[in-house]
Symmetry: C2
Subunit: 256 residues, 2 copies
């Protein structure tokens, strides 16, 4: 290998696009068999991770106990925020529940509709108009991270309150940044976040596929006390935090 | 998703390290089963690709016909340049041939030795001292690409001549950049290379794993006429170029 010389032009950045949707679309087109495509996620400290997107289509038997428990709590009309391939929405629909998927990826919305599942393009905190109201708002697959960070979370929660009814619950799955494996793996990143005035668990990431990448976005592993602060000034009440019997998995329940 | 605001700090680059070796080491430790790790390769136009490193351990039955043919041509003492996991070296050794692997990755050299295969750390064109001479120099798994480019190739070929004997052959596998799939896939990159005065098929890439990455290096898909030019001023003669019955695969044979 020869290192690049000083005269060489700088590497180019990927083009902005629906990298997440194209990864999931290839996986879905191949029957969602393992590693029919690869989800490459880049974090802003240079960390690259590569995962099997087949998990976005996994059947309930393959979920963790905690995720199955959270899934069972959903009642009434459900807004499935960051619905991915529809792994939660499909069995909700089979159970007879009325579920609407919401995703910022056009590719993902296309897959949902191909599966006969209702879905709409949109992202937080600017929800599309005309969604109606929901009895359950699900942020599954660690999508409590879509709260984004301490500054952004109150706006997201207020936006979600506009599509909620009295008594509506937000069910969000997450990982506690202070517990389990994540500490040893990510200690340096958490420290860097503290240095630059960010919440330790505020991950800045993007998804890459071929020559395209999503914009950088913040995905927040909030500590329970940070979450309580973020919720305080919103129409939501932190009702319970359920923990997995092992590991750092959490289910956060907020009540309107 | 929220795009990064202008006030946000720039993303960090990964740290330099043996990304290729660590990817192969995890794969090997897991029994080289498919996707026990993922090889992420970044090209300098922002292209990301993710592949199964189990192929670096694939048995001859899993190779292409052309690769098996090239493998059978090796005779005498063999230098296996860019030996990877030892997929070519292991069956050569089983056949009773004397093979030395050479790789710039300490992790790869460690795997070779764990497998009981002779290997030495080193890269082109600065070969380590004391290698002795070889009757066959193998650049397999598309490693003819390690010639690097039109400027670098003559120095690499002269270095290899120093460990050659009269009659020694270089056997290199490659893909013709003007043939098959690669054109449609990579036309924009080839055009960008032309614009900046590089050979069209001169790929600038690095391997990424976790927070580490290899240095950027040039991997050259040389067209046959470019190869002839690169060889002209060296102690080597372009003997034959064998082509796959389908696709763009090549085996290039040079004679000392």
């Amino acid at each position: 290998m020869s290192a690049m010389s000083a005269a060489d032009p700088a590497p180019r950045q990927p083009r902005l696009g629906d990298a997440f949707g194209s990864i999931l679309a290839r996986c879905w087109a191949a029957g969602a068999v393992p590693y029919s495509s690869v989800e490459v996620v880049e974090r802003d400290d240079g960390l690259i991770s590569a995962n099997d997107p087949a998990r976005y289509f996994a059947a309930p038997e393959a979920w963790s106990d905690l995720e199955r428990w959270a899934w069972e709590q959903a009642t009434g009309r459900i807004l499935d925020v960051g619905c991915g391939g529809g792994r939660h929405a499909a069995p909700w629909a089979r159970k007879g529940l009325d579920v609407l998927g919401l995703d910022s990826s056009p590719g993902v919305v296309g897959i949902m509709r191909e599966r006969g599942l209702a879905a709409q393009l949109g992202s937080l905190p600017q929800l599309p108009d005309g969604l109606g109201t929901f009895e359950t708002i699900a942020l599954f697959g660690n999508n409590l991270g879509l709260l984004g960070g301490p500054d952004r979370a109150p706006a997201v929660l207020r936006a979600l309150a506009e599509v909620a009814r009295p008594g509506t619950r937000i069910l969000g799955t997450a990982h506690d940044p202070s517990g389990g494996e994540s500490v040893s793996h990510h200690a340096a990143y958490f420290a860097w976040n503290r240095e630059r005035g960010r919440s330790p668990g505020q991950l800045r990431i993007r998804v890459r596929d071929g020559v395209i990448a999503t914009p950088w976005f913040d995905y927040w592993l909030a500590a329970p006390d940070e979450l309580a602060t973020a919720v305080a000034d919103t129409p939501w009440t932190l009702e319970t935090i359920e923990r997995a019997s092992a590991g750092s998995g959490l289910v956060v329940c907020l009540r309107r």
